[in-house]
């Protein structure tokens, strides 16, 4: 469960302070499926980075499963990210010098496990197949289309079967049909218990979620349940 209390994030660029996130208090319970929406620059990615323990707030408190994230050391944060979180970045952030398959396998290599390399490779290939890219396993990111890179990033976020998936515009580069295939995967994972928080700017995609959180100028201005579909 995610509990944000009075979270601020202020960036200092030279003389100017940019208040990217201002006084956000938010609770997300296990098994929820929420969309985060709002204008470009309203603070969505910054909020996701704070929730994903990739950045520290300037003020406020963040409890993840009851643990005060602000009190964790760098290595403890890294362990939390690897074991409990899956993150799809807005810019994908794939490693350019390793293949699609190796990119997907990376979280598995970093997590404690009793499996051999062949089992990890099998799981990575299964994750790639799930997003329709089994035949692109050996391609490098520069040899993939924009939407293919995005799907590799999605496969990488899911391969560790995280309890919490944070996805920043996961369908931004996908055609309608491929987007719906991805949303069907997310819905199935949510049905089985995965908590999902995803940024999207498309209302048709947000309709797959059960809760809509809207941001403006760093604040949460609305937070409501989506009527039953």
């Amino acid at each position: 469960v995610i509990q944000l209390e009075g979270i601020d994030k202020i960036y200092q660029t030279g003389e100017v302070a940019v208040k990217a996130v201002r006084g956000v208090s938010l609770t997300v319970k296990p098994g929820e499926f929420a969309a985060v929406m709002g204008a470009s620059g309203s603070g969505k990615s910054t909020l996701m980075n704070l929730i994903g323990c990739l950045d520290r707030p300037t003020a406020g408190r963040y409890l993840l499963d009851g643990e005060d994230v602000g009190a964790l050391s760098k290595s403890e944060l890294s362990r939390v990210r690897n074991q409990r979180l899956g993150f799809v970045f807005q810019g994908f952030n794939l490693l350019s010098r390793t293949s699609a398959l190796e990119n997907v396998e990376l979280p598995l290599l970093y997590s404690p496990h009793g499996h051999g390399r062949r089992e990890l490779r099998r799981r990575s290939l299964a994750a790639l197949a799930q997003v329709g890219l089994a035949d692109r396993a050996e391609h490098y990111p520069s040899q993939l289309s924009g939407g293919q890179q995005q799907r590799v990033a999605i496969a990488r976020a899911l391969v560790n079967e995280p309890a919490l998936l944070l996805a920043d515009e996961p369908t931004g580069n996908l055609d309608t049909r491929t987007s719906l295939e991805i949303m069907a995967i997310f819905q199935e994972l949510n049905r089985k218990g995965m908590t999902i928080l995803m940024v999207t700017h498309e209302p048709d995609i947000a309709r797959y979620c059960l809760r809509e959180i809207t941001m403006r100028d760093g604040q949460v201005i609305s937070d409501q349940a989506v009527p039953d579909r």
Copy 2:
């Protein structure tokens, strides 16, 4: 005017040949406003790169304003790109070590002109203001949101007032309202004579165009006028 005749683009990755574009013949007249749509991996970006003289076809002929592009030298191609084309990349491709303003100014610095540095700076600031980012002029790309980076890429493509704008998913990271602001800018430029070819996966955005070209597996499978709005 763009004239593609039997264009192929084949990528060789190891033993496998990927036919990214297959036998595409296409004519785009001056002043047209066309959308390029199709599934992820269907060849849209590859086609745009070929039209934008950023890549050479494996087979076929490409006439740009009557000139055979395949016969041009590297420096002539570079001149064509700088003077006649504006390109918005799917991945933005901003220079990470220069500010938003300097990124937008770059095409002006490379083109022949009689203006002083102050005039170039004024034009770059005007281009940034047009996409709503005058107050982000000094930020570096890493200090901008995804949608802000996308808008800087759009401003950069427009600052040289090109005859032809090639935009690959220019609203992919923008909320609905900001997307419509960008489409209004494009419509106005098209009304004044700019030829625009843009890749989009969103039908609501494609509706602003007057022609819809659809790709599948490297081929153009449909090409029709959009009914009058």
